[in-house]
């Protein structure tokens, strides 16, 4: 049976304000439980919320970055439900009129681009945490997180595979960190995804019934959870069972999703406008001020990298996967031609990224600066270093042995590109390997590689391989 997967994502991005969205308490992660919850956060009788303008600024920046409408006024609403880590018994959120409406994001799946439409993005406060361990049958409540500002970003159901969903989540993650509204730290819960997943027979017009997978805090879990859920839903349908609307949780240990609550158990949240907060008015000047603070966005950056440095679409999207990488590449490749630009791209996306990963560095960090890398690439471009030698120099640079020129000097790594010198060595090799020469002339191509190897060995790998090839071939056909 031919099934189509339909996915929409709701992402909660924690906004990088110093204080909470409705109080002056700090938002820093990892503090002693309940040490960062003030009277407003613990909902003492009589306290009132006051909106943090920093959260609004970040929402505006996001709206501008995705080409959305900034609504004015937008309305804060109360979402009412009881839970021990929800101190007021309601969450202040936005319902009928969110601050950001519409917009879209282009994602890259392989070499093809795809536009994912956004429904909306709204401001809301986070809840606290219930701690079920260490309390011997009781539950501890930590309200440090209560009141942390969130931007909930809701997509249209535009994704058709887990790969697209992950590409979208990554693109969004890149964007919110790129424009500096979210630190993107998924381990600390700064960027969490809920996935609405349904399947339908290919060609069907109606969407299938969806199930929502809650709280996925890594791209890997996002992919695994969707893949499992899709297979489960297809299995159910093929066995003749209908899908019931439900909220499910993903268990990373089993790799399965399990039902948390069915539609029947769904809360009636009794949304209504919060009378403690005025409608949020955002005038054109404010929007303009935020526009001024926006950096060049990843999409524009990607286009420019392709045009200016001749990098491929794929490499361009890797290079713009974070502002740190893009900035590194940019300062490394500054002022070069397309040939060197491509070399720079290869080094950043290849060896450097591997090193950063391996060492657990943020992209761009570590012992090798962009200027050092540029010094290396320039020596490759001018023929001083072969690819293999460049690897060696890079390793030495990473180990802190200085810049490329110093390492080349110290290790005597200079490539031999002097035609006369190489010819001399080639002649010596040919003279000493009569058998291989005969084999080659008898049509055994393998013998050629062996001769190249002899030349490289004789030069301790320093001969320019291209020149060696040319000269060797010329000599062998000439005589």
């Amino acid at each position: 049976m031919n099934w189509e997967v339909v996915i929409g994502l709701e992402v909660h991005a924690q906004l990088s304000t110093a204080s909470k969205i409705f109080s002056a308490a700090p938002t820093a992660f990892g503090a002693e439980p309940n040490s960062q919850a003030c009277a407003v956060d613990i909902a003492l009788p009589g306290v009132l919320p006051v909106l943090n303008r920093g959260a609004v600024e970040r929402a505006i920046r996001f709206g501008l970055a995705v080409g959305a409408t900034i609504n004015s006024p937008s309305i804060f609403a109360r979402k009412n439900y009881f839970y021990p880590d929800l101190p007021k018994g309601y969450q202040i959120s936005q319902y009928e009129r969110p601050v950001v409406e519409g917009g879209s994001i282009v994602i890259q799946v392989g070499d093809t681009g795809k536009t994912v439409r956004l429904t909306r993005a709204h401001l809301e406060e986070d809840a606290g945490k219930s701690l079920h361990e260490d309390f011997h049958g009781r539950t501890g409540i930590d309200l440090n997180r209560a009141g942390t500002p969130l931007l909930e970003i809701v997509s249209e159901p535009d994704m058709r595979s887990s790969a697209e969903a992950v590409a979208y989540a990554r693109a969004l993650h890149t964007l919110v960190t790129w424009i500096g509204i979210c630190d993107g730290n998924m381990q600390e819960g700064s960027f969490r995804c809920d996935a609405n997943v349904s399947v339908r027979r290919r060609g069907a017009e109606q969407y299938g019934t969806r199930r929502e997978i809650k709280n996925l805090n890594s791209f890997r879990f996002l992919q695994q959870a969707i893949d499992y859920e899709v297979q489960w839903q297809i299995g159910e349908l093929e066995d003749g069972r209908a899908i019931q609307q439900a909220t499910v949780l993903f268990d990373p240990d089993t790799g399965e999703t399990r039902m948390m609550r069915s539609k029947e158990d769904a809360h009636d949240y009794r949304y209504f406008p919060d009378p403690d907060l005025l409608p949020l008015v955002i005038d054109a000047d404010w929007i303009e001020r935020e526009r001024q603070t926006l950096p060049v966005l990843p999409a524009a950056c990607r286009e420019r990298f392709m045009a200016q440095y001749g990098v491929t679409a794929y490499d361009a999207s890797v290079l713009t996967s974070s502002r740190a990488i893009a900035d590194f590449f940019e300062s490394m490749a500054a002022g070069t031609d397309a040939k060197t630009g491509k070399l720079c791209a290869n080094w950043v996306t290849g060896a450097l990224s591997a090193k950063w990963n391996e060492a657990g560095h943020q992209p761009g960090a570590g012992p090798v600066s962009a200027a050092l890398m540029r010094g290396l690439v320039d020596r490759i471009a001018d023929g001083t270093l072969s690819g293999k030698m460049a690897k060696e120099v890079f390793e030495a640079m990473w180990a802190g042995e200085g810049d490329a020129d110093a390492i080349i000097e110290k290790r005597g790594l200079k490539q031999i590109s002097d035609g006369g010198e190489i010819e001399k060595i080639v002649d010596e090799v040919l003279a000493g390997n009569a058998q291989q020469v005969a084999d080659y002339r008898a049509g055994k191509d393998k013998a050629f590689n062996s001769l190249v190897g002899q030349v490289m060995k004789a030069t301790r790998g320093k001969a320019n391989p291209q020149q060696v090839n040319e000269i060797l071939r010329r000599r062998l056909t000439a005589n």
Partner: protein, 488 residues
């Protein structure tokens, strides 16, 4: 003015003249409270040590030459205001043992002005009621007739002032909770324009309607307290940022040429004859003083009670969700699981009227009912407010009765919520419109119970309203009468 009636102004003068110290004054009031509170039930909490410490500090301030107008003058707070170190119950078992770790804006302002806090006054539970009968801490008796209610929800404040257990007190008014008890106990009360007094630290009932205000014997005292209570507070997003004003500035200006609007809807069916007679006499007095009278209409006023009983419970149902027994407040002694903890804690912690309103509010906000009730009520609320805008084109102030009758007997209306709700029929529309309204004593019914005259002003017209009330009080002495209950 009877010499039996100490006002903020007269006490301030005594202190300034050195006729007594703040400590002596506070002790005198503490003695009176000790003597009468057991019968009257005005105060939920008194802390003589805290009071005397404040008084002592005020005396020291005076000696240092830093006394303000109200430094060292005693008064009381309705138990809806959080006061640091004081038990703050809101009239509920839910908060029976809640000691506030912080000061409400109003409490802070009063403290800064040097006012000495005598205690926290009784009130209807979470300010839901018009008779003070819903308080967990027992009934408050009306000093004019101990078998009758003082009105509510600020019944403790009203009775305390009427019985001379405090020269003045704070109150809050969501649908009439300052004005109606002021009327029923023969004192003055002002509900300011919504947003003029910060709600920070004032326990919420219905956020879009709640407003704090002063209760005292004279318009002048109300003005003195308004000068302290009003003002912008960044901690309340609905607080209005306006230049400071002197609420006493129109005192003594008289009412020559004042246009008084009398809404015909205020004098229709349901108004007791005694009350009508007193109001008419008061209006006649104003005419005598130079005012003119205009007949006006507030056509949508009849809708104000039903609109209010959709919107106020809706907001309350959400505002009261925080009382879940998790972090503070009452928690049931035994429960099997979380759901039962919630259920029992709230079942035990809240009284019947609070539960009724939570149920109503939850219902009107529910999926499928929201549009029919909440949205509709919001639309009607705007119509009601527009009626006043129209009316104020023709008049400067609106006058009428504060309540349809005088103080009723305990139990007389508590079995019939709708009858109880109708006690606020003349006051609720003012909250829905966000306008300032006040009540001043203007006579007595045939049983000797006080009648209140309601004065409604345009937005931010408090100073003028106080001037209008003051003119009446210069010409009459209703506000100086002392109930027998105060002399016991």
């Amino acid at each position: 003015m009877s010499t039996n009636t100490p006002t903020l102004k007269s006490l301030s003068a005594q202190l300034a003249a050195g006729e007594c110290s703040s400590v002596e004054l506070a002790q005198e009031y503490i003695n009176k409270i000790n003597k009468l509170n057991e019968v009257l039930g005005c105060f939920v909490t008194v802390e003589p040590e805290l009071t005397l410490a404040q008084a002592k500090a005020a005396d020291e301030q005076r000696r240092a030459g830093q006394a303000g107008v109200l430094t060292g003058v005693p008064f009381a707070h309705k138990d809806i205001f959080c006061a640091r170190g004081w038990r703050t119950t809101c009239g509920s078992r839910m908060l029976e043992n809640f000691i506030s770790p912080y000061d409400a804006h109003v409490v802070e302002r009063c403290r800064d002005a040097g006012l000495v806090m005598l205690g926290k006054t009784n009130m209807d539970e979470f300010a839901m009621g018009s008779s003070n009968e819903t308080s967990y801490f027992g009934k408050v008796r009306n000093p004019w007739d101990l078998e009758r209610v003082p009105g509510g929800s600020s019944g403790g404040s009203a009775a305390a002032v009427a019985a001379r257990l405090a020269p003045a007190a704070t109150g809050t008014d969501t649908g009439g909770s300052i004005r109606q008890p002021a009327a029923l106990t023969g004192i003055c009360g002002l509900k300011p324009t919504y947003g003029l007094v910060s709600r920070y630290g004032m326990i919420a009932f219905a956020s879009s309607l709640d407003q704090a205000g002063p209760m005292a014997h004279t318009a002048e005292d109300l003005g003195l307290l308004m000068n302290v209570m009003a003002g912008f507070d960044a901690r309340d997003s609905t607080s209005l940022e306006r230049p400071a004003e002197d609420y006493l500035r129109h005192l003594g200006e008289g009412v020559q040429g004042l246009r008084i609007g009398l809404p015909k809807e205020f004098f229709a069916e349901g108004l007791s004859a005694d009350v009508a007679r007193s109001i008419e006499a008061a209006v006649a007095e104003y005419r005598r003083l130079g005012a003119t009278v205009v007949d006006i209409s507030l056509p949508n006023m009849a809708l104000s009670v039903p609109v209010y009983y959709v919107l106020a419970p809706a907001e309350a149902s959400s505002n009261l969700s925080r009382y879940d027994g998790v972090r503070y407040g009452h928690r049931a002694a035994e429960y099997r699981d979380l759901a039962e903890m919630y259920r029992r804690s709230r079942a035990e912690g809240f009284g019947a009227e609070v539960k009724r309103r939570i149920l109503i509010g939850t219902y009107v906000l529910s999926h499928g009912y929201y549009d029919a009730y909440y949205i509709r009520a919001q639309k009607l609320r705007r119509l009601i407010a527009r009626d006043f805008v129209e009316a104020f084109r023709e008049c400067d102030v609106i006058m009428g009765p504060t309540a349809p009758g005088t103080a009723f007997r305990f139990g007389e209306k508590s079995g019939d919520p709708v009858q109880m709700y109708l006690s606020d029929i003349y006051t609720i529309a003012v909250n829905l419109a966000g306008l300032p309204g006040m009540s001043i004593p203007c006579g007595f019914d045939t049983q000797g119970l006080p009648v209140g005259l309601q004065i409604i002003g345009n937005y931010f017209d408090e100073a003028r309203m106080l001037g209008v009330a003051h003119a009446f009080q210069q010409a009459t002495d209703w506000h100086g009468r002392v109930p027998a209950g105060a002399a016991a």
